[in-house]
Amino acid sequence: MTTSAVTTLPTPVEPIFNTKPRGLWSTAFHRLFHRRSAIIGMIILGCLLFIAVFAPFLATHDPVQSQIGIVDVQKRAAPCIRLFGCPADQPEFFFGTDGNVRDLYSRVLYGARLSLMVGILSVGFAIVIGAFIGAVSAYAGGYIDNLLMGLMDILLAFPSLILAIAIVTVLGPGLINTLLAIGIVSIPVYARIMRSSVLSIKQQDYVLAGQSIGSSSRRILLQNILPNALTPLVVQGTLGIAVAILDAAALSFLGLGAQPPTPEWGSMIGQERNQVFTAPHLIIFPGIALILTVLGFNLLGDGLRDALDVRQRS
């Protein structure tokens, strides 16, 4: 690393004054679009967003309406696609039908709406509350800091899914309660990140300068500290959405999250889990949808972390 600096001096290609300095976010976006994994992640998430928004136009059937008596089809029928040789006398179902003779393809499409919503909302909730707790904790210090961080330690002492299960048991099963439970479980991570960023930024010269010219604490927190503490929150938040979607699907799989007939991927798999030996397509299609969604957020999160890494930038 240091050898190159000694032996080969960098040759100035163009005058320094002609290059416009880039800001953090501009540099980050520039780098993000040069990373294969981040691009793949963005493409996956772009497709998912498209599917979620235009689900009513892409779906071939009503996602919750049983096709029994409407179309002549068996329950748990295998996929039948005209393009791949589905006989003309059979009804077409891209992903087959489920145990209640509903169209699996339409259900998987609508499922994108729920998973994206649960992931983004629960992490959004956790970031807002967590960042607030972390900022107050770091800025106030003393016994407030000890108390708040002690609370966070207690929440962190539970494996996340187990705590989420316990919370949903108290609140009662359902999609909204799942969302809340996962949000609560994720708060400590963001509180800790925010606290450590604020603690390090608090010592920076520009914050001290702000204090010396008499800026209020609130102004310093919102104008100087928050924007600079945002980077790690954004990275962790993106990766956190992946975890939130996985946990929400797991809760629904266990019967604690979204209730049937809601087209939620985890719940769809949980409903049909005993049929995996006879009708594996009921697990495979919602399963692939889940894997792709989580993969998308993981790839984007990793890409963002590399792109926003301040150490690499310098």
Binding site: D153, L254, G266, I269, G270, F277, I283, L295
Partner: protein, 358 residues
Amino acid sequence: MIAYILRRIVLAIPVMIGILFLTFLLSRLIPGDPCRAMLGEKATQAVCDAFVERTGLNQPIPVQFAYYFGRAVTGDLGESLRFGRPVTDMLMERLPVTVELALLSLLVATFVGMTLGVVAAYWQNSPIDAITMVFANLGVSVPIFVLGLLAAYLFAVAFKDTPFALPPSGRLQPGLIVKTIPEAWGMEDLGGLPRTLLDFLSQMYVVNGILTLNWKVASDAARHLILPVFVLATVPMSIIARMTRSSLLEVMTLDYMRTARAKGLNERHVVFRHAMRNSLLPVVTVVGLSLGGLLSGAVLTETIFGLTGVGRTLFDAITSRDYIVIQGFTLAIAFIYVFVNLLVDLSYAVLDPRIRLS
């Protein structure tokens, strides 16, 4: 060193009290009448009165918490509403199954994960590296229950009648009889702590089979564990592989690596003796942190593969609204988690002297 250990243990005490309080709240925050919520809508007033009297629900909340605290500390977690059995007994019976599953998974995850990570780092940017990292990325993105169900389908149906066929559920094939270790060793009148320990080990069928020299039980139990162990190991394995790779690559750029090469050591010696040791610390962290994921994952894995461990029992308790079991098992899992994290913290101090000195 002893001062460091004591400090860590003292720091864990408030967290444990907090866990007790949180699990206590769990059974008190259920909306509606707690008796009807626990015993069902059909419970008569007389039954409810007796229940409230027996469980102390008519006492003030601080008194209730004091009772709960006192009982939990002495190992009394109440009685299951559904089975009428002490929760502690159920825990001692089911915990070995989960411990066996989790430890084997951690072993597989650490061994395979670190091997893959070293291979990927050694041949950085080669096709092997790329393929390993693609699988590591997929590994952290696959929900355990999807992987578990698909693995069960693949090995029980698609590979049926081939040598790769594996049982998709249960712990032993029907007809195999398992003796407990004290029975097999002819020590049935053993009592006290050694007995508890041997009974605990007896529930781990692989360990039991090996200790009682019953190879049929050991091999059949192991065969039944292959799918659950690998399914549960997937996530930590992927994380460990990625961590080992990046940690090793980071260490390789340090100055002392150049020194090692400059003094003429061969590449293998440089990587395994110089780089590996210093890249281990982050990997140990990940191995320790994986345990929370393993305990969470055990609920799903055990449910899918029909293993009667802590996770499966928790799932059954949720479906039958057995709040006392949910409370007791949640408490036990959290305590185990805190204890293991404490061990991980202490192991840093052993591995890295800088930590215990600061």
